[in-house]
């Protein structure tokens, strides 16, 4: 059973939403490994701005990273999963380097958010693991897992299980 939580963030330039949706561990690990995830929750993160023509400015970056920091601090046993969207229409051109694809820009932005959150008193506590997967003519896909250091084994298992299930 999945559950979700949507957190609205208002800044002077626009409204942003962070949506967290739980991922059933059974979707990604075998029953044999399920007990390891008894006290661990995996969340799929979605980030979106209500108005598509609004830039992600410093105020928004600060607000979003502060919220991420709060989520990580309140929930010590969570793994955050973030798939970087390929859509270039929701990022204004002046906002990003045209030489890099939208999904890579989002990956850099997400890592920046992570660093800002981590650098606010959580240094050396959380790991930002980025998977770059070439999917052919569409280029590279960017997937992030953010987790506290003590859940490294869980994150390793997720990745290895997905790889083995894909064969």
């Amino acid at each position: 059973m999945t559950s979700s939580l949507t957190i609205p963030i208002s800044t002077s330039h626009g409204e942003y939403f962070i949506k967290l949706t739980t991922i059933d561990p059974l979707m990604v690990v075998s029953k044999d490994d399920l007990s390891l995830f008894a006290n661990c929750t995996i969340y799929d993160i979605l980030l979106a701005c209500k108005h598509r023509d609004v830039d992600v400015d410093m105020e928004a970056m600060t607000s979003i990273s502060t919220e991420l920091q709060r989520i990580l601090n309140v929930n010590p046993n969570i793994i955050l999963y973030f798939f970087c969207d390929f859509d270039g229409k929701t990022i204004t051109i002046r906002q990003r380097d045209e030489q890099i694809p939208p999904q890579e820009f989002r990956s850099r932005l997400f890592s920046l958010l992570f660093d800002r959150a981590v650098n606010k008193g959580n240094r050396n506590k959380f790991i930002n693991r980025k998977y770059v997967v070439n999917i052919g003519e569409d280029g590279d896909a960017y997937i992030h897992l953010i987790f506290p250091e003590h859940l490294t084994r869980h994150a390793d298992l997720l990745a290895s299980t997905i790889e083995s299930q894909s064969k």
Partner: protein, 44 residues
């Protein structure tokens, strides 16, 4: 002294076909999730 990197990167430059299919499936899931979130935002 800790040597662990807190920003880690794993590259799959030549992934197997099933891994590519899985990632494409995750991409569709993301797009569907964002479409749903945008509807929720319009109603909020």
């Amino acid at each position: 002294m800790k040597t662990m990197s807190y920003n880690q990167v794993e590259l799959f430059s030549t992934p197997s076909a099933p891994v590519v299919e899985l990632v494409k499936k995750l991409r569709r899931r993301k797009e569907q999730g964002l479409a749903l979130l945008r509807k929720e935002m319009e109603q909020a």
